[in-house]
Protein backbone atom coordinates (compact mmCIF):
# COMPACT_ATOMS: atom_id res chain seq x y z
CA UNK A 1 0.00 0.00 0.00
CA UNK A 2 2.83 2.41 0.83
CA UNK A 3 4.46 1.49 -2.48
CA UNK A 4 1.33 2.53 -4.35
CA UNK A 5 1.04 5.74 -2.33
CA UNK A 6 4.64 6.71 -2.99
CA UNK A 7 4.43 5.91 -6.70
CA UNK A 8 1.25 7.94 -7.17
CA UNK A 9 2.73 10.83 -5.24
CA UNK A 10 5.84 10.78 -7.39
CA UNK A 11 3.79 10.60 -10.60
CA UNK A 12 1.64 13.53 -9.48
CA UNK A 13 4.64 15.66 -8.53
CA UNK A 14 6.43 14.74 -11.79
CA UNK A 15 3.79 16.82 -13.56
CA UNK A 16 2.03 14.11 -15.51
CA UNK A 17 -0.73 13.61 -12.97
CA UNK A 18 -2.21 17.07 -13.30
CA UNK A 19 -1.74 17.90 -9.62
CA UNK A 20 -0.27 21.31 -10.34
CA UNK A 21 -3.34 22.11 -12.44
CA UNK A 22 -5.46 22.31 -9.30
CA UNK A 23 -3.13 24.76 -7.58
CA UNK A 24 -2.86 27.00 -10.64
CA UNK A 25 -6.63 26.95 -11.11
CA UNK A 26 -7.18 27.81 -7.43
CA UNK A 27 -4.71 30.67 -7.71
CA UNK A 28 -6.41 31.99 -10.85
CA UNK A 29 -9.89 31.92 -9.31
CA UNK A 30 -8.89 33.61 -6.06
CA UNK A 31 -6.65 36.20 -7.71
CA UNK A 32 -9.35 37.36 -10.13
CA UNK A 33 -12.19 37.66 -7.59
CA UNK A 34 -10.99 40.99 -6.07
CA UNK A 35 -10.83 42.53 -9.54
CA UNK A 36 -14.34 41.38 -10.31
CA UNK A 37 -15.90 42.39 -7.00
CA UNK A 38 -14.13 45.72 -6.68
CA UNK A 39 -12.17 47.39 -3.90
CA UNK A 40 -14.84 47.03 -1.19
CA UNK A 41 -12.75 45.48 1.60
CA UNK A 42 -15.73 44.83 3.90
CA UNK A 43 -17.56 42.94 1.19
CA UNK A 44 -14.43 40.98 0.26
CA UNK A 45 -13.69 39.92 3.82
CA UNK A 46 -17.32 38.86 4.25
CA UNK A 47 -17.47 36.63 1.16
CA UNK A 48 -13.77 35.64 1.32
CA UNK A 49 -14.11 32.32 3.20
CA UNK A 50 -16.89 31.17 0.89
CA UNK A 51 -14.83 32.10 -2.20
CA UNK A 52 -11.83 30.20 -0.88
CA UNK A 53 -13.96 27.12 -0.19
CA UNK A 54 -15.68 27.18 -3.59
CA UNK A 55 -12.32 27.64 -5.29
CA UNK A 56 -10.87 24.66 -3.41
CA UNK A 57 -13.94 22.52 -4.19
CA UNK A 58 -13.82 23.25 -7.92
CA UNK A 59 -10.09 22.82 -8.28
CA UNK A 60 -10.26 19.48 -6.46
CA UNK A 61 -12.99 18.32 -8.84
CA UNK A 62 -10.74 19.33 -11.74
CA UNK A 63 -8.13 16.74 -10.84
CA UNK A 64 -10.50 13.92 -9.91
CA UNK A 65 -11.37 12.53 -13.33
CA UNK A 66 -7.75 11.47 -13.91
CA UNK A 67 -7.64 9.52 -10.64
CA UNK A 68 -8.25 6.13 -12.27
CA UNK A 69 -8.34 6.97 -15.97
CA UNK A 70 -4.57 7.20 -16.44
CA UNK A 71 -4.16 3.83 -14.74
CA UNK A 72 -6.85 2.30 -16.91
CA UNK A 73 -5.32 3.55 -20.15
CA UNK A 74 -1.92 1.98 -19.56
CA UNK A 75 -3.26 -1.26 -18.08
CA UNK A 76 -2.09 -0.60 -14.52
CA UNK A 77 -5.66 -0.80 -13.27
CA UNK A 78 -5.95 -4.44 -14.47
CA UNK A 79 -2.89 -5.36 -12.44
CA UNK A 80 -4.13 -3.45 -9.40
CA UNK A 81 -7.50 -5.26 -9.54
CA UNK A 82 -5.83 -8.65 -9.96
CA UNK A 83 -3.13 -7.78 -7.42
CA UNK A 84 -2.80 -8.81 -3.80
CA UNK A 85 -4.11 -5.60 -2.18
CA UNK A 86 -7.91 -5.40 -1.63
CA UNK A 87 -9.53 -2.84 -3.92
CA UNK A 88 -10.77 -0.47 -1.15
CA UNK A 89 -7.20 -0.14 0.11
CA UNK A 90 -5.97 0.53 -3.43
CA UNK A 91 -8.52 3.33 -3.72
CA UNK A 92 -7.61 4.66 -0.27
CA UNK A 93 -3.91 4.78 -1.14
CA UNK A 94 -4.63 6.55 -4.44
CA UNK A 95 -6.96 9.04 -2.73
CA UNK A 96 -4.40 9.85 -0.03
CA UNK A 97 -1.71 10.35 -2.68
CA UNK A 98 -3.99 12.64 -4.69
CA UNK A 99 -4.87 14.60 -1.57
CA UNK A 100 -1.24 14.99 -0.55
CA UNK A 101 -0.21 16.04 -4.06
CA UNK A 102 -3.02 18.38 -5.03
CA UNK A 103 -5.12 19.34 -1.98
CA UNK A 104 -2.37 19.85 0.59
CA UNK A 105 -0.81 22.62 -1.56
CA UNK A 106 -4.26 24.26 -1.71
CA UNK A 107 -4.53 24.14 2.07
CA UNK A 108 -1.07 25.64 2.47
CA UNK A 109 -1.73 28.33 -0.13
CA UNK A 110 -5.10 29.33 1.29
CA UNK A 111 -3.83 31.74 4.03
CA UNK A 112 -1.68 33.59 1.49
CA UNK A 113 -4.54 33.84 -0.98
CA UNK A 114 -6.84 34.83 1.87
CA UNK A 115 -4.81 38.05 2.16
CA UNK A 116 -6.02 38.94 -1.35
CA UNK A 117 -9.55 38.78 0.01
CA UNK A 118 -8.83 40.97 3.08
CA UNK A 119 -9.53 38.17 5.57
CA UNK A 120 -8.81 38.75 9.25
CA UNK A 121 -6.06 36.61 10.82
CA UNK A 122 -8.61 34.49 12.70
CA UNK A 123 -10.49 33.79 9.47
CA UNK A 124 -7.25 32.88 7.66
CA UNK A 125 -6.50 30.13 10.12
CA UNK A 126 -10.12 29.00 10.31
CA UNK A 127 -10.19 28.58 6.51
CA UNK A 128 -6.94 26.66 6.61
CA UNK A 129 -8.17 24.35 9.37
CA UNK A 130 -11.54 23.67 7.74
CA UNK A 131 -9.96 23.06 4.32
CA UNK A 132 -7.47 20.70 5.95
CA UNK A 133 -10.17 18.46 7.41
CA UNK A 134 -12.76 19.04 4.66
CA UNK A 135 -10.88 18.44 1.41
CA UNK A 136 -10.27 14.71 2.07
CA UNK A 137 -14.05 14.24 2.11
CA UNK A 138 -14.29 15.84 -1.36
CA UNK A 139 -11.57 13.52 -2.66
CA UNK A 140 -13.25 10.41 -1.22
CA UNK A 141 -16.63 11.38 -2.68
CA UNK A 142 -14.99 12.20 -5.98
CA UNK A 143 -13.24 8.84 -6.09
CA UNK A 144 -16.65 7.16 -6.36
CA UNK A 145 -17.60 9.39 -9.28
CA UNK A 146 -14.23 8.84 -10.93
CA UNK A 147 -14.55 5.07 -10.53
CA UNK A 148 -18.02 5.03 -12.07
CA UNK A 149 -16.93 7.19 -15.01
CA UNK A 150 -13.56 5.52 -15.55
CA UNK A 151 -14.52 3.75 -18.78
CA UNK A 152 -16.07 6.84 -20.37
CA UNK A 153 -13.89 8.78 -22.79
CA UNK A 154 -14.95 12.20 -21.50
CA UNK A 155 -15.94 11.33 -17.98
CA UNK A 156 -14.72 14.54 -16.38
CA UNK A 157 -18.01 16.37 -16.76
CA UNK A 158 -19.97 13.39 -15.48
CA UNK A 159 -17.70 13.17 -12.44
CA UNK A 160 -18.38 16.81 -11.58
CA UNK A 161 -22.14 16.41 -12.00
CA UNK A 162 -22.20 13.21 -9.90
CA UNK A 163 -19.97 14.55 -7.18
CA UNK A 164 -21.11 18.12 -6.72
CA UNK A 165 -24.44 17.42 -4.95
CA UNK A 166 -22.74 15.07 -2.51
CA UNK A 167 -20.01 17.61 -1.81
CA UNK A 168 -22.47 20.39 -0.94
CA UNK A 169 -22.77 19.41 2.78
CA UNK A 170 -18.99 19.56 3.08
CA UNK A 171 -19.05 23.06 1.61
CA UNK A 172 -21.88 24.22 3.88
CA UNK A 173 -20.28 23.04 7.11
CA UNK A 174 -16.82 24.17 6.06
CA UNK A 175 -17.96 27.72 5.36
CA UNK A 176 -20.23 27.93 8.41
CA UNK A 177 -17.41 26.82 10.70
CA UNK A 178 -15.19 29.51 9.20
CA UNK A 179 -17.82 32.23 9.70
CA UNK A 180 -18.40 31.06 13.25
CA UNK A 181 -14.72 31.53 14.01
CA UNK A 182 -14.89 35.18 12.92
CA UNK A 183 -18.32 36.24 14.20
CA UNK A 184 -18.28 35.90 17.97
CA UNK A 185 -21.76 34.53 18.82
CA UNK A 186 -21.65 31.61 16.37
CA UNK A 187 -20.21 28.36 17.72
CA UNK A 188 -17.10 27.12 15.86
CA UNK A 189 -16.83 23.57 17.15
CA UNK A 190 -20.19 21.98 16.20
CA UNK A 191 -19.88 22.60 12.43
CA UNK A 192 -16.18 21.79 12.57
CA UNK A 193 -16.87 18.45 14.24
CA UNK A 194 -19.58 17.67 11.69
CA UNK A 195 -17.03 18.42 8.97
CA UNK A 196 -14.61 15.94 10.59
CA UNK A 197 -17.42 13.38 10.80
CA UNK A 198 -18.22 13.85 7.10
CA UNK A 199 -14.58 13.22 6.21
CA UNK A 200 -14.42 10.07 8.33
CA UNK A 201 -17.75 8.81 6.98
CA UNK A 202 -16.80 9.29 3.33
CA UNK A 203 -13.29 8.02 4.10
CA UNK A 204 -14.88 4.69 5.03
CA UNK A 205 -17.66 4.59 2.44
CA UNK A 206 -15.90 6.11 -0.59
CA UNK A 207 -13.09 3.56 -1.02
CA UNK A 208 -15.53 0.65 -0.59
CA UNK A 209 -17.94 2.04 -3.19
CA UNK A 210 -15.20 3.06 -5.62
CA UNK A 211 -13.49 -0.32 -5.26
CA UNK A 212 -16.74 -2.13 -6.02
CA UNK A 213 -17.38 0.14 -9.03
CA UNK A 214 -13.89 -0.50 -10.46
CA UNK A 215 -14.17 -4.24 -9.96
CA UNK A 216 -17.65 -4.42 -11.44
CA UNK A 217 -16.68 -2.29 -14.41
CA UNK A 218 -14.13 -4.78 -15.72
CA UNK A 219 -14.19 -5.34 -19.47
Amino acid sequence: MSALFLRDLRLALAGGGGATTAVIFFLAVIATIPFGVGPDLNLLSRIGPAILWIGALLSTLLTLDRLFQADREDGTLDLLIAGPLPMPLVVLAKCLALWAASCLPLVLASPVLGLFLALQPAALFAVMATLFVGTPAIVFIGAVGAAVAVALPRGGLLVSVLVLPLAIPVLIFGVSATYAAVNEPGPFWPPFMILCALTLFFGALGPLAAGAALKGGGE
Binding site: R10, A14, D74, G75, T76, D78, L79, A82, E219
Partner: protein
Protein backbone atom coordinates in the same frame (compact mmCIF):
# COMPACT_ATOMS: atom_id res chain seq x y z
CA UNK B 1 1.60 -31.18 -7.15
CA UNK B 2 0.39 -27.85 -8.45
CA UNK B 3 -2.56 -28.17 -10.75
CA UNK B 4 -4.95 -25.79 -12.45
CA UNK B 5 -8.29 -27.19 -13.57
CA UNK B 6 -10.97 -25.51 -15.67
CA UNK B 7 -14.25 -27.36 -15.39
CA UNK B 8 -17.20 -26.43 -17.60
CA UNK B 9 -15.88 -22.86 -17.69
CA UNK B 10 -17.89 -20.52 -19.91
CA UNK B 11 -16.45 -17.03 -20.32
CA UNK B 12 -18.09 -13.91 -21.63
CA UNK B 13 -18.56 -10.18 -21.40
CA UNK B 14 -21.47 -8.97 -19.32
CA UNK B 15 -24.20 -11.59 -19.67
CA UNK B 16 -23.12 -12.66 -23.17
CA UNK B 17 -21.23 -15.93 -23.40
CA UNK B 18 -18.26 -15.60 -25.75
CA UNK B 19 -16.47 -18.94 -25.56
CA UNK B 20 -16.58 -22.25 -23.79
CA UNK B 21 -17.34 -24.51 -22.08
CA UNK B 22 -13.70 -25.35 -21.43
CA UNK B 23 -12.71 -28.60 -19.80
CA UNK B 24 -8.93 -28.88 -19.34
CA UNK B 25 -6.31 -29.32 -16.64
CA UNK B 26 -2.72 -28.06 -16.52
CA UNK B 27 -0.14 -29.36 -14.05
CA UNK B 28 3.14 -27.88 -12.83
CA UNK B 29 5.70 -27.66 -15.61
CA UNK B 30 3.08 -27.66 -18.33
CA UNK B 31 2.00 -24.92 -20.69
CA UNK B 32 -1.41 -24.31 -22.17
CA UNK B 33 -1.41 -22.47 -25.49
CA UNK B 34 -4.73 -20.89 -26.36
CA UNK B 35 -5.19 -20.50 -30.10
CA UNK B 36 -7.97 -19.31 -32.30
CA UNK B 37 -8.78 -16.58 -34.79
CA UNK B 38 -9.22 -12.93 -33.82
CA UNK B 39 -12.34 -12.37 -31.79
CA UNK B 40 -12.70 -16.01 -30.74
CA UNK B 41 -12.48 -15.15 -27.04
CA UNK B 42 -8.82 -15.81 -26.20
CA UNK B 43 -8.38 -12.57 -24.30
CA UNK B 44 -11.75 -13.02 -22.59
CA UNK B 45 -10.65 -16.42 -21.33
CA UNK B 46 -7.33 -15.08 -20.06
CA UNK B 47 -8.94 -12.05 -18.40
CA UNK B 48 -11.40 -14.38 -16.70
CA UNK B 49 -8.53 -16.55 -15.45
CA UNK B 50 -6.76 -13.43 -14.14
CA UNK B 51 -9.85 -12.53 -12.13
CA UNK B 52 -10.71 -9.41 -14.14
CA UNK B 53 -13.99 -10.79 -15.47
CA UNK B 54 -16.45 -13.01 -13.62
CA UNK B 55 -17.06 -16.37 -15.35
CA UNK B 56 -20.54 -16.91 -16.81
CA UNK B 57 -20.58 -20.43 -15.37
CA UNK B 58 -18.18 -23.17 -14.37
CA UNK B 59 -15.16 -22.98 -12.08
CA UNK B 60 -11.40 -22.49 -12.06
CA UNK B 61 -9.86 -24.78 -9.44
CA UNK B 62 -6.39 -24.53 -7.95
CA UNK B 63 -4.53 -27.22 -6.07
CA UNK B 64 -1.19 -27.15 -4.35
CA UNK B 65 -0.27 -23.54 -4.99
CA UNK B 66 0.77 -21.14 -2.23
CA UNK B 67 0.31 -17.37 -2.41
CA UNK B 68 3.16 -14.98 -1.59
CA UNK B 69 2.21 -14.98 2.10
CA UNK B 70 2.55 -18.77 2.27
CA UNK B 71 -1.17 -19.48 2.64
CA UNK B 72 -2.84 -21.79 0.10
CA UNK B 73 -4.07 -19.60 -2.72
CA UNK B 74 -7.81 -19.18 -3.06
CA UNK B 75 -7.86 -17.13 -6.25
CA UNK B 76 -5.77 -17.78 -9.32
CA UNK B 77 -4.99 -14.04 -9.42
CA UNK B 78 -3.05 -14.38 -6.14
CA UNK B 79 -0.53 -16.74 -7.71
CA UNK B 80 -0.56 -15.47 -11.28
CA UNK B 81 1.14 -12.81 -13.34
CA UNK B 82 -1.12 -11.34 -15.99
CA UNK B 83 0.46 -9.70 -19.04
CA UNK B 84 -2.20 -8.07 -21.19
CA UNK B 85 -2.13 -5.94 -24.30
CA UNK B 86 -1.31 -2.86 -22.25
CA UNK B 87 1.95 -2.65 -20.38
CA UNK B 88 0.95 -1.45 -16.93
CA UNK B 89 4.00 0.82 -16.80
CA UNK B 90 4.07 4.58 -16.34
CA UNK B 91 5.86 6.48 -19.08
CA UNK B 92 6.86 9.45 -16.88
CA UNK B 93 9.04 7.46 -14.47
CA UNK B 94 12.03 5.28 -15.24
CA UNK B 95 11.90 1.61 -16.13
CA UNK B 96 13.69 0.75 -12.89
CA UNK B 97 11.21 2.70 -10.77
CA UNK B 98 8.32 0.97 -12.55
CA UNK B 99 9.79 -2.46 -11.90
CA UNK B 100 10.71 -1.65 -8.29
CA UNK B 101 7.12 -0.53 -7.71
CA UNK B 102 5.68 -3.76 -9.12
CA UNK B 103 8.20 -5.82 -7.18
CA UNK B 104 7.14 -4.15 -3.93
CA UNK B 105 3.46 -4.17 -4.79
CA UNK B 106 3.16 -7.70 -6.11
CA UNK B 107 5.81 -9.34 -4.01
CA UNK B 108 5.20 -7.72 -0.66
CA UNK B 109 8.52 -8.67 0.86
CA UNK B 110 10.22 -8.94 -2.53
CA UNK B 111 12.79 -6.31 -1.56
CA UNK B 112 13.80 -8.35 1.46
CA UNK B 113 14.03 -11.47 -0.64
CA UNK B 114 16.09 -9.70 -3.28
CA UNK B 115 18.49 -8.44 -0.62
CA UNK B 116 18.83 -11.88 0.89
CA UNK B 117 19.31 -13.33 -2.55
CA UNK B 118 22.08 -10.77 -3.00
CA UNK B 119 23.94 -12.37 -0.11
CA UNK B 120 23.84 -15.70 -1.80
CA UNK B 121 26.84 -16.32 -3.96
CA UNK B 122 25.11 -17.07 -7.23
CA UNK B 123 21.97 -15.44 -8.54
CA UNK B 124 22.09 -16.77 -12.06
CA UNK B 125 18.90 -17.71 -13.83
CA UNK B 126 19.82 -21.35 -13.55
CA UNK B 127 19.15 -21.22 -9.83
CA UNK B 128 15.52 -20.59 -10.52
CA UNK B 129 15.23 -24.32 -11.04
CA UNK B 130 14.96 -24.63 -7.27
CA UNK B 131 12.22 -22.01 -7.08
CA UNK B 132 9.38 -24.41 -6.42
CA UNK B 133 9.98 -27.15 -3.95
CA UNK B 134 8.08 -30.36 -4.24
CA UNK B 135 4.97 -29.39 -2.33
CA UNK B 136 4.57 -26.23 -4.41
CA UNK B 137 5.79 -23.87 -1.67
CA UNK B 138 8.02 -21.04 -2.78
CA UNK B 139 11.63 -21.04 -1.83
CA UNK B 140 13.47 -17.77 -1.33
CA UNK B 141 15.64 -17.66 -4.43
CA UNK B 142 12.97 -16.78 -6.94
CA UNK B 143 13.11 -13.03 -7.38
CA UNK B 144 15.49 -11.02 -9.54
CA UNK B 145 16.31 -7.38 -8.79
CA UNK B 146 15.02 -5.01 -11.53
CA UNK B 147 18.42 -4.49 -13.16
CA UNK B 148 18.97 -8.23 -13.58
CA UNK B 149 15.41 -8.79 -14.74
CA UNK B 150 16.02 -6.19 -17.45
CA UNK B 151 19.25 -7.90 -18.43
CA UNK B 152 17.35 -11.20 -18.67
CA UNK B 153 14.96 -9.71 -21.23
CA UNK B 154 17.85 -8.18 -23.17
CA UNK B 155 17.68 -4.58 -21.93
CA UNK B 156 20.78 -4.26 -19.72
CA UNK B 157 21.52 -0.82 -18.33
CA UNK B 158 18.19 0.73 -19.28
CA UNK B 159 16.73 1.00 -15.80
CA UNK B 160 17.44 4.73 -15.50
CA UNK B 161 15.63 5.60 -18.76
CA UNK B 162 12.01 6.84 -18.56
CA UNK B 163 9.68 4.12 -19.80
CA UNK B 164 8.13 6.45 -22.39
CA UNK B 165 11.47 6.85 -24.20
CA UNK B 166 11.67 3.16 -25.14
CA UNK B 167 10.59 1.75 -28.50
CA UNK B 168 7.48 -0.43 -28.75
CA UNK B 169 9.46 -3.67 -28.63
CA UNK B 170 11.62 -2.42 -25.76
CA UNK B 171 8.50 -1.39 -23.83
CA UNK B 172 7.12 -4.87 -24.34
CA UNK B 173 10.33 -6.45 -23.08
CA UNK B 174 10.46 -4.13 -20.07
CA UNK B 175 6.90 -5.08 -19.15
CA UNK B 176 7.82 -8.75 -19.53
CA UNK B 177 10.62 -8.13 -17.02
CA UNK B 178 7.82 -7.70 -14.48
CA UNK B 179 7.37 -11.47 -14.64
CA UNK B 180 10.82 -11.84 -13.13
CA UNK B 181 10.85 -9.21 -10.35
CA UNK B 182 8.09 -10.89 -8.34
CA UNK B 183 7.63 -14.62 -8.37
CA UNK B 184 4.30 -16.11 -9.32
CA UNK B 185 4.00 -19.80 -10.24
CA UNK B 186 1.37 -19.13 -12.93
CA UNK B 187 1.98 -16.82 -15.90
CA UNK B 188 -1.06 -15.71 -17.88
CA UNK B 189 0.26 -14.19 -21.10
CA UNK B 190 -1.90 -12.47 -23.69
CA UNK B 191 0.09 -12.12 -26.93
CA UNK B 192 3.37 -11.70 -25.01
CA UNK B 193 5.59 -11.57 -28.07
CA UNK B 194 3.75 -8.91 -30.07
CA UNK B 195 6.20 -6.21 -31.26
CA UNK B 196 9.19 -8.42 -30.38
CA UNK B 197 11.91 -9.17 -32.91
CA UNK B 198 13.02 -12.74 -33.63
CA UNK B 199 15.95 -12.68 -31.19
CA UNK B 200 13.76 -11.33 -28.38
CA UNK B 201 11.11 -13.94 -29.10
CA UNK B 202 13.74 -16.64 -28.76
CA UNK B 203 15.02 -15.09 -25.53
CA UNK B 204 11.49 -14.93 -24.14
CA UNK B 205 10.82 -18.53 -25.19
CA UNK B 206 13.90 -19.42 -23.17
CA UNK B 207 12.51 -17.61 -20.10
CA UNK B 208 9.21 -19.43 -20.49
CA UNK B 209 11.02 -22.75 -20.76
CA UNK B 210 13.00 -21.97 -17.57
CA UNK B 211 9.78 -21.03 -15.77
CA UNK B 212 8.21 -24.31 -16.83
CA UNK B 213 11.35 -26.18 -15.83
CA UNK B 214 11.10 -24.73 -12.34
CA UNK B 215 7.59 -26.14 -11.96
CA UNK B 216 5.64 -23.12 -13.15
CA UNK B 217 2.49 -23.05 -15.24
CA UNK B 218 2.08 -20.92 -18.36
CA UNK B 219 -1.22 -20.09 -20.01
CA UNK B 220 -0.58 -18.13 -23.18
CA UNK B 221 -2.62 -16.85 -26.08
CA UNK B 222 -0.32 -16.40 -29.01
CA UNK B 223 0.00 -16.57 -32.76
CA UNK B 224 3.77 -17.01 -32.56
CA UNK B 225 5.36 -20.26 -31.46
CA UNK B 226 6.85 -19.82 -28.01
CA UNK B 227 9.07 -22.87 -28.26
CA UNK B 228 6.32 -24.81 -26.54
CA UNK B 229 6.13 -27.86 -28.77
CA UNK B 230 5.13 -30.03 -25.84
CA UNK B 231 2.38 -27.68 -24.73
CA UNK B 232 -1.26 -28.56 -24.50
CA UNK B 233 -3.33 -26.62 -27.00
CA UNK B 234 -6.78 -25.24 -26.44
CA UNK B 235 -8.26 -24.18 -29.76
CA UNK B 236 -11.22 -21.87 -29.52
CA UNK B 237 -13.52 -22.20 -32.48
CA UNK B 238 -14.73 -18.86 -33.83
CA UNK B 239 -18.28 -17.76 -33.10
CA UNK B 240 -20.68 -18.69 -35.87
CA UNK B 241 -23.58 -16.65 -37.17
CA UNK B 242 -26.15 -19.03 -35.72
CA UNK B 243 -24.56 -19.15 -32.26
CA UNK B 244 -26.92 -18.89 -29.31
CA UNK B 245 -26.12 -15.58 -27.65
CA UNK B 246 -27.59 -16.51 -24.33
CA UNK B 247 -31.16 -16.14 -23.12
CA UNK B 248 -33.40 -14.01 -25.25
CA UNK B 249 -31.08 -13.58 -28.22
CA UNK B 250 -32.77 -14.34 -31.51
CA UNK B 251 -31.36 -17.32 -33.32
CA UNK B 252 -30.60 -16.41 -36.94
CA UNK B 253 -29.56 -19.24 -39.20
CA UNK B 254 -28.03 -18.80 -42.62
CA UNK B 255 -31.25 -19.56 -44.46
CA UNK B 256 -33.18 -16.87 -42.60
CA UNK B 257 -30.31 -14.45 -43.17
CA UNK B 258 -30.29 -15.14 -46.92
CA UNK B 259 -34.04 -14.76 -47.02
CA UNK B 260 -33.86 -11.41 -45.27
CA UNK B 261 -31.11 -10.23 -47.59
CA UNK B 262 -33.14 -11.32 -50.60
CA UNK B 263 -36.14 -9.43 -49.30
CA UNK B 264 -34.06 -6.26 -48.91
Amino acid sequence: MARLTLSALVVGRGATAVAGPFEIAVSAGEALVVTGPNGAGKSTLLRTLAGLLPPISGTVRLEGLAASDGEPAARLADVAHYVGHRHGMKSQITVGENLRFWARYLGGAAKEIARRAGDAADRSLGDRASSLSQDGRLSQLTVLPPAEALAAVGLPGLDAIPFGYLSAGQQRRASLARLLVAHRPVWILDEPTSALDVASQARFADLVARHLGSGGIVVAATHHPLGLESAKTLHITPPRAGRDDGPGAPAIDDAALAEAEGWL
